[in-house]
């Protein structure tokens, strides 16, 4: 255990030299490393696989089967920041994505490198109305992007509802531009954490079934899926439900509320300003709620995104 005086001197010098050095450091809670962030847009399973009829909570209760043949969304304006600092991550780029044909692991729309390895507790994104210049990420085609920009859509989908012998097709695009912010996981943990020397995968998740809900969910999704209104609103019974038919379809009869029916229309505003509440108003309201986070996490602060 003998330590020479020279060794002791070295130890003292090392200790007291390190102490002020450490005092000047930022300390252990602050980011001392760097990592990467991948923003990956993931479609909810209902987009590629559709919805099944059945009695389960996840099924369409009134017997309709929903399939999508095309499902495009506009997404962009990615933002992340930290409550404890002024750092920001921004990408104003707007992308058009074909969610029906999305890669199995989703679309990597953006990667940020050299990001402080700590928790970024504020994250948000937008599903804006498409404008010319929106980028198409493969396998999304440029034609898809142009199509969305021409219509100014934030979401467009084509598909069919089938029940027994009835198959009713739909092709709808909506300018339902909405920003989603203060995103948190389903556990309530805000934002995301960047690992040191690693990559965090942040997943804005796009849902594809909200227009079949029986209410506009906020917070916990306590709802049912129903699609009978598709047949109710197909007034001309041509098996093609158009937006015009949706606008003419009275919500009071197509979407009956309690005590006579399952729906809840509170909060559905007159979206198209025609002085009536139609099913179009309902579907458009739902089209403004598609953005979730890390699966079923919520982004509770929503605002119009033109």
């Amino acid at each position: 255990m003998y330590v020479s005086k020279y060794e002791q001197l070295f130890m003292f010098a090392a200790t007291f030299a390190l102490a002020p050095l450490a005092a000047c450091s930022s300390g252990g809670s602050d980011p001392s490393g760097k990592g990467s962030v991948q923003i990956i847009v993931v479609p909810e399973e209902t987009v590629p696989a559709g919805l099944e009829p059945g009695d389960g909570d996840e099924n369409v209760k009134d017997g309709w089967r929903i399939t999508y043949e095309r499902f495009l969304v506009t997404i962009g304006d990615l933002k992340a920041s930290r409550t404890d600092g002024g750092d920001r991550l921004d990408d104003p780029t707007v992308y058009v994505l074909d969610l029906k044909n999305a890669p199995q692991s989703g679309y990597v729309v953006k990667s940020f490198a050299d990001v402080a390895a700590t928790r970024w507790d504020r994250f948000g994104f937008s599903l804006p109305n498409a404008k010319p210049g929106a980028k198409a990420l493969a396998p999304t085609t440029d034609a898809d992007a142009s199509f969305m920009a021409r219509g100014g859509y934030s979401v467009y989908f084509e598909g069919a509802a089938t029940k027994g012998p009835d198959t009713i097709r739909f092709k709808w695009g909506f300018a339902a531009g909405t920003s989603f912010s203060e995103c948190a996981t389903s556990e309530g943990t805000p934002g995301f954490a960047v690992p040191t020397g690693g990559t965090v995968q942040v997943k804005p998740t796009i849902h594809g079934d909200h227009w079949f809900f029986t209410n506009v969910t906020a917070g916990a999704e306590i709802t049912e899926r129903r699609a009978e209104w598709i047949k109710t609103c197909d007034k001309d019974q041509d098996k093609e439900l158009t937006l015009a038919e949706l606008k003419a379809c009275d919500a009071a009869t197509a979407l009956p509320q309690k005590p006579g029916g399952p729906y809840e229309l509170a909060g559905i505003e007159d979206q198209d300003g025609d002085g009536k509440i139609s099913v179009y108003d309902y579907v458009l309201s739902q089209a403004k709620t598609l953005g979730d986070f890390q699966g079923d996490g919520e982004c509770p602060t929503r605002a119009p995104a033109p």
Partner: protein, 864 residues
């Protein structure tokens, strides 16, 4: 102005400027040898006898009685026997350290004259003792033989845990009297707020458990709102440390804080400590010592166990609310104070109408094994178990409206189904070897296993099932379970203390501490009275490993200045099996198998430094700085996340004035900044993250011991604790009830504490002295801020005890809350619904947990 007048003036100045303290280096840190109070002359054999010399080794107990006598130098068997018989009847004023009677071993030489025996140099009388210079007034050396001054007074002060053996070898004129006072090394002070509480203060007021002892430390308030089986809530100098999240707690060197406990990060149950075997409590308020590890955010507290009065102690008490307590302590004579066995059992119906009944028991066993002259092993084992019913919270508006009695509980089935149970077993072995030139090697290993289960309802009927969202209104009876198995080890080496560059002395200690915990935890919602599970919130296992290293250096310049400090770094590794991770909501398509396993790691490090300036023996200035950390709750980490430690920075400056042992005072100002804080979330029954916080305050302590029979301590702590920025809104909490700059909820800005102990001989009865003890502790808490602009009422409490003892029999009466104050242990503000038939309010409302009313405990103790 004389030096003494100046000293007195400075003590007064310290008091006026902020308060006073009896803190880090009180004058009674000195050691005093025993002094003879009653002497019996030896009755030597008749007849002629040669002159000679007898030298006895005498063991004087803390009570002043002689327990062992052995002959070191003989003058013949008959003479030896006569002298030994006489000395066995001697009664001493016991030796003291830090003002506290301790066991001591002395040598008493006798010169045998031709016809009589005369002590050559008997131990000094108390009067003589007071008249002469204090034998070791400035040398808090744990064991001291030959009271020759150490190499320099500065060294003695700065290096309080120096081995005595080396000093004895260092020379000094041989003394006739030789005194060895048993005890443990005193660790050097790290700040003006490095407080050492001895049994005199700890024993002044009744302590139902070891956690209550913390209340005597300045700025500390402890409560037990969740019943006897749930750990204390600790509030320390502006921190709501909950059940230990911000206070590192150790007993005999073994950490008690549990990582990632489901009921609260850093959960630590002090129930495992039998309070009667605590001989010293060190509370460091702040983070200044490189040995302070995880959870040392507000500070740390270490319980040192030992029994000074040897023999067998049996105590039985019976008191209010059908409380029974049995205590047995066996401290075999001839063994070190650290060697003992203790067991306590307590059962009670609890206050209120049969709502708080509980049974608890603990055992502490230690054995100090000397391996050689400079080595020893300390074996430690402790176990604890408790179960208690819990009355739970009450809405203050319901109490005011007479809907429920203050000391009762809601009649609701869910409210009446609350309970908790806990157990813990721990064993440890520590080794210490003292080397030449004050060097030292220490090592320890320990193991602990603990279990916790609670059923607590804070909110009544507000929750909705996450598994089955249609289920609602079945009662928010939160069931939590946590099982933890932890292994730990530590080792350190302290270098010799050479001179450097002539005037300076230096020393370095390096050490490492590691522990690994396997944790299994769950949280569910139960429906009473069916005991049906109606939601699952947590189902997880985790392994948390903490590897800490530290370097701690000392540079001292004579006795004038000392700089201590160094670095500590902890690497933490987390492996989480979150069995409810990637949860699939009921209304979502099943696309995967529920579960999420992840790992994370991180390093927390920071410097700690203390500068002490001591221009005179009675004035000490201290400046301290340190950075500490709290590890994150494992389950809240994401894959690969750099563990987000809560980092604290502590600053403190203080002045301590000693008035030659009569009184000491100190005042210190401090600031602590915490990178993120946690607050209790009643909806989840656990801690949730809030924003960064800052605390600024002043603490003052006065310790006075004007006579041998009076000891007192008074402290005042004021803190301004504020939230620097609110947390971001989340879906579950979109409107955090905190705004920037607001007072931190739940912590009292002002805490006053007074402990007073009186003890001494009362009268004689049948040739035996009857001694008495009288003591009390008072606590004042200013109104505590609550969320939403509310605040709780101020609290003033008095606990007191009185006892009389004759020989082996002692009768004592303890009273807690003597004034029968109706007070709330904790007050919280949040939303609840305890009226299933009414219109539920969703405004935050004040909730309280009733503090115990006056309780008496009459005990009979046998000291055998």
């Amino acid at each position: 102005m004389s030096a003494r007048t100046l000293r007195s003036a400075l003590v007064a100045l310290a008091l006026v400027s902020g308060a006073a303290r009896a803190g880090a280096q009180p004058p009674d840190a000195s050691t005093r040898p025993p002094a003879v109070r009653t002497r019996v002359e030896p009755s030597l054999p008749d007849g002629p006898r040669p002159a000679g010399r007898v030298e006895l080794a005498v063991l004087v107990e803390a009570s002043g009685e002689v327990s062992e006598v052995s002959v070191v130098a003989s003058a013949g068997a008959d003479i030896d026997r006569a002298v030994v018989d006489a000395v066995r009847k001697w009664v001493f004023e016991p030796a003291t350290r830090d003002g506290q009677p301790v066991r001591s071993r002395i040598r008493v030489p006798f010169v045998i004259a031709a016809r009589t025996a005369v002590p050559l140099a008997p131990p000094v009388s108390p009067t003589r003792q007071a008249a002469r210079p204090p034998l070791a007034a400035k040398a808090p050396v744990p064991a001291q033989k030959r009271p020759a001054p150490p190499a320099s007074p500065a060294d003695a002060k700065a290096d309080a845990d120096v081995a005595p053996d080396e000093e004895r070898e260092s020379g000094g004129e041989p003394q006739v009297e030789e005194v060895e006072v048993a005890g443990v090394a005193r660790k050097p002070s790290r700040a003006a707020s490095d407080f050492r509480l001895d049994t005199s203060i700890l024993g002044a007021a009744p302590r139902a458990n070891a956690g209550d002892m913390l209340a005597s430390a300045p700025g500390v308030y402890v409560a037990k709102p969740e019943g006897d089986a749930v750990a204390h809530r600790i509030y320390l100098r502006g921190f709501d440390a909950d059940h230990g999240q911000d206070v590192e707690l150790r007993v005999s060197g073994i950490p008690l804080n549990q990582s990632s406990h489901v009921h609260g990060q850093g959960y630590a149950d002090l129930g495992i400590i039998v309070p009667e075997v605590v001989r010293r409590l060190r509370v460091v308020e702040g983070v200044y010592d490189p040995r302070q590890g995880d959870f040392a955010v507000a500070g740390s507290a270490e319980f040192d166990l030992g029994v000074e009065e040897r023999g067998l102690l049996l105590k039985y008490g019976r008191g209010s609310f059908a409380t029974d307590r049995f205590l047995a302590i066996w401290a075999p004579r001839g063994q070190a104070a650290e060697t003992f066995g203790a067991v306590s059992v307590r059962s009670t119906d609890g206050f209120g109408p049969g709502l708080r009944g509980g049974l608890s028991g603990a055992t502490n066993v230690q054995y100090k094994l000397r391996l050689g002259r400079a080595e020893h092993l300390l074996l430690h084992a402790a176990a604890y178990g408790a179960r208690a019913n819990v009355a739970g919270v009450l809405r203050r508006d319901d109490v005011s409206a007479g809907k429920v009695d203050f000391y009762s509980a809601y009649a609701d089935p869910s409210a009446r189904a609350q309970s908790a149970a806990a157990s813990r077993v721990q064993v440890g072995v520590s080794f210490e070897r003292r080397l030449a030139e004050q060097a030292r090697v220490e090592a320890a290993v320990w193991f602990a296993q603990s279990d916790f289960r609670s059923r607590l309802n804070y909110t009544g009927y507000t929750q909705r099932s996450r598994i089955e969202p249609a289920w609602v209104g079945r009662g928010d009876l939160i069931e939590q379970s946590n099982a933890d198995t932890t292994f730990g080890a530590r080792a350190s080496y302290r270098s010799p203390r050479p001179r450097i560059l002539g005037l300076l002395r230096g020393q370095l200690e390096v050490g490492s501490e590691a522990k690994t915990s396997g944790i299994d935890q769950a949280q569910n919602l139960l429906r009473a009275p069916q005991n049906e599970t109606w939601d699952q919130r947590v189902d997880a296992a985790a392994r948390v490993t903490d590897i800490g290293v530290f370097a701690d250096g000392l540079l001292s310049y004579k006795r004038l200045a000392r700089l201590r400090g160094g670095l500590r770094a902890d690497a933490l590794f987390f492996d989480v099996d979150d069995r409810l991770g990637n949860f699939i909501p009921s209304f979502q398509k099943k696309t995967h198998i529920v579960g999420f396993r992840r790992t994370a790691a991180g390093v927390a490090w920071g410097p700690r430094a203390t500068l002490e300036l001591e221009p005179t023996r009675w004035l000490l200035g201290t400046v301290s700085y340190g950075e500490g950390f709290r590890s994150p709750q494992a389950r809240q980490l994401e894959e690969g996340e750099q563990a987000p430690f809560a980092k604290v920075k502590s600053y403190e400056a203080g002045v301590t004035v000693n008035d030659e042992g009569l009184a000491s005072g100190s005042v210190a100002v401090y600031e602590t900044r915490l990178s993120y804080d946690l607050a209790f979330d009643p909806q989840e029954g656990r801690l949730e993250r809030i924003g960064p916080t800052t605390r600024r305050g002043v603490v003052g302590v006065l310790r006075g011991k004007p006579t041998p029979f009076l000891d007192g301590m008074l402290s005042a702590t004021f803190v301004d604790a504020t939230l620097d920025s609110p947390p971001p809104p989340t879906p579950e909490n979109p409107t955090p009830p905190y705004v920037s700059g607001q007072s931190l909820p739940y912590v009292p800005p002002l805490v006053l504490r007074q402990d007073v102990a009186l003890h001494g001989r009362v009268f004689s009865l049948f040739d035996k002295d009857v001694t008495g003890r009288l003591g009390w502790g008072t606590t004042f808490l200013s109104p505590r801020p609550l969320p939403y602009g509310q605040s709780s009422a101020a609290v003033f409490l008095v606990d007191a005890l009185a006892s009389v003892r004759r020989d082996v029999v002692e009768l004592s009466l303890e009273a807690t809350n003597l004034l029968d104050t109706r007070w709330a242990q904790t007050e919280l503000a949040y939303v609840s619904n305890w009226d299933p038939t009414g219109v539920p309010s969703r405004l935050p409302s004040r909730h309280l947990t009733a503090g115990p009313p006056r309780a008496l405990l009459l005990s009979l103790t046998l000291h055998l």
